[in-house]
């Protein structure tokens, strides 16, 4: 019950502070334009000096290109927005004193944190849903309709990847009192995960491996990454647990 009270406030804040709108618009924009960019890539190349010859060498764009463009764009902006939206979530409330006022009342700290994660998840769920609808529609119009189940699974994995960064950023925001420090720590964690993803074997277990799996589910190219799935879920759970432990020890 108390979690619902805290969640209600957080969701209201996502809407009133235009975070929900911004995320929705950015996701929708990239959902719509990704297949379009894939379709128009040869035309762009033609505009370059000696582009006509180069364009003739490139095969005609396919659904796989549209999906690849979609995955690349959405994942990059989702991770960036996850850090930007999450870095002030706790740090700013601690800094301004709003957290102290609310937590002097019978609002448990776990509910305070979980509500923030829940609201950010809802925001990114809405954004991903809009991107998925827009991307599916344009891909169907410009190429051919992708497999609907595969498309849904791809977007589910994209959302999971985003939530990993939301949870890690929330931990950074909880651990620091300043939004800037929280952002710095979150970008540091982001870089670390990106570096790990390029390592052989280890890379298969990082959240980035979910993207390849997502592409496989739609286009048939790529590898299943169950290890990355469990690792992502584990990272989310561990980050939230660590946030709670850190927050319980803090004085406000």
């Amino acid at each position: 019950m108390i979690l619902l009270v805290a969640l209600r406030k957080e969701i209201l804040e996502q809407a009133r502070s235009y975070r929900l709108l911004i995320v929705s618009l950015v996701f929708l924009l990239f959902g719509l334009t990704s297949p379009l960019l894939a379709k128009l890539a040869p035309e762009f190349i033609k505009m370059l000096p000696q582009g006509e010859e180069m364009a003739r060498l490139i095969p005609a764009p396919t659904v796989a290109d549209a999906v690849g463009q979609y995955v690349k764009n959405i994942s990059q902006f989702a991770v960036l927005l996850a850090v930007l939206m999450g870095m002030g979530a706790v740090a700013q409330e601690k800094d301004k004193g709003t957290a102290a006022l609310m937590l002097s009342k019978p609002l448990p700290r776990w509910a305070f944190l979980l509500a923030k994660f829940g609201a950010l998840s809802a925001t990114f769920l809405a954004g991903t849903a809009l991107a998925a609808i827009g991307g599916y529609y344009y891909t169907a119009v410009l190429f051919q309709a992708p497999d609907i189940v595969g498309w849904l699974a791809l977007n589910g994995l994209l959302l999971l990847l985003t939530l990993v960064y939301v949870a890690v950023t929330l931990l950074c925001s909880t651990a620091s009192r300043s939004m800037v420090v929280a952002g710095g720590l979150a970008f540091g964690a982001l870089l670390l995960l990106v570096m790990l993803s390029s390592l052989p074997v280890v890379g298969d277990y990082t959240p980035s491996a979910l993207l390849g799996w997502g592409s496989l589910l739609v286009t048939g190219t790529g590898r299943a990454a169950w290890g990355a799935l469990w690792m992502s879920l584990g990272l989310i759970a561990a980050s939230l647990l660590a946030s709670w432990v850190v927050f319980e020890r803090q004085e406000l």
Partner: protein
């Protein structure tokens, strides 16, 4: 059962000892003034009572429940020195949210919100965003949010320091109205406010309780009589020289000068009555006003705090 019980509370921040074995009790239904200079440990004490900070040593209870426990937070209202709110909310929404946190039903929340907004004078701006509020308006909203749950103990940290004279008067009247209904624990360094609303006073300095007593008893116990005089403009310049000579006399406690006025706190009233007027005459000070005044809480406070807190 005491409304607040604090036993040997200590709190250190690195090498700084904010609280140094603070012990005090507050009786239910009283308005308790927690008085002390800046850095004395007032805010730290209140933060521990709310559960926002943990003591290094000692224990504290609020309304019979150990401070920081969930049940204690249900019984307490808290107003920090500079309350912060969600700027995108309206005061009505904020109070409603606080009511939800306390598990109040919708009709009760609605009625309590309207009642409190009226009480603190924010009813007319109930639909405006808090982000545009002045400091005084935020302070009044802070008072309202502290009262949502009809607390048994109300913890106020410098509740009127940010308010203009009219706002201060209203806030103090509100605190006075709460007397008997709930226990008010109010930290402040404004002595006039304590004199006006508090019936008990605890003076804290360097993290320790210097003294704790009903206000009138405190004044009688510690304050020594003072003489206030005002020189005419022509001779006001002679006051500092006269005061410097007076300070060495054994029957004089302290002499403070401000412009054309001086305040002399004495140890021996009879001797002061005999010797003060001639000393002024000798110094060439022409008086326009001269009287022996009732000892004030300010005199007690300054004396106890400057003495270093060895008395109880």
């Amino acid at each position: 059962m005491e409304a607040i019980r604090i036993e040997g509370l200590t709190k250190t921040y690195g090498s700084v000892r904010a609280l140094d074995g603070l012990t005090l009790t507050v009786e239910p239904g009283s308005v308790f003034g927690f008085l002390g200079p800046n850095g004395a440990g007032k805010t730290t004490t209140i933060r521990i009572l709310t559960g926002l900070a943990k003591p290094t040593g000692g224990r504290a209870w609020v309304a019979g429940v150990e401070a920081g426990k969930d049940d204690a937070r249900r019984r307490v209202g808290y107003l920090p020195e500079e309350p912060s709110f969600y700027p995108w909310m309206t005061p009505r929404e904020y109070l409603d949210h606080v009511g939800r946190v306390f598990g109040m039903a919708a009709p009760e929340r609605k009625a309590r919100t309207a009642e409190l907004l009226e009480q603190v004078g924010l009813a007319e701006v109930a639909r405006r965003r808090i982000g545009g509020f002045s400091r005084g308006m935020r302070q009044r909203l802070g008072m309202a949010q502290a009262l949502v749950n009809r607390p048994e103990v109300l913890l106020l940290d410098e509740p009127v320091s940010a308010l203009d004279p009219a706002g201060r008067k209203e806030a103090l009247e509100l605190i006075e109205r709460l007397r008997g209904g709930c226990t008010v624990f109010m930290s402040t360094h404004i002595l006039a406010d304590v004199e006006r609303v508090c019936d008990s006073v605890g003076i804290v300095a360097r993290g320790r309780l210097v003294t704790e007593a009903p206000r009138h008893e405190l004044v009688q116990r510690y304050a020594v009589p003072a003489f206030v005089l005002e020189a005419d403009n022509g001779s006001a310049g002679r006051l500092p020289g006269w005061a410097a000579g007076l300070r060495d006399l054994p029957w004089v406690e302290s002499v403070t000068c401000s412009g054309a006025t001086a305040r002399v706190v004495v140890r021996d009233v009879e001797r002061a009555k005999r010797e003060l007027p001639p000393s002024l005459h000798s110094a060439g000070v022409v008086l326009v006003h001269y009287e022996m005044v009732r000892p004030s809480l300010e005199d007690v406070f300054l004396r106890l705090v400057t003495e270093g807190g060895e008395e109880r």
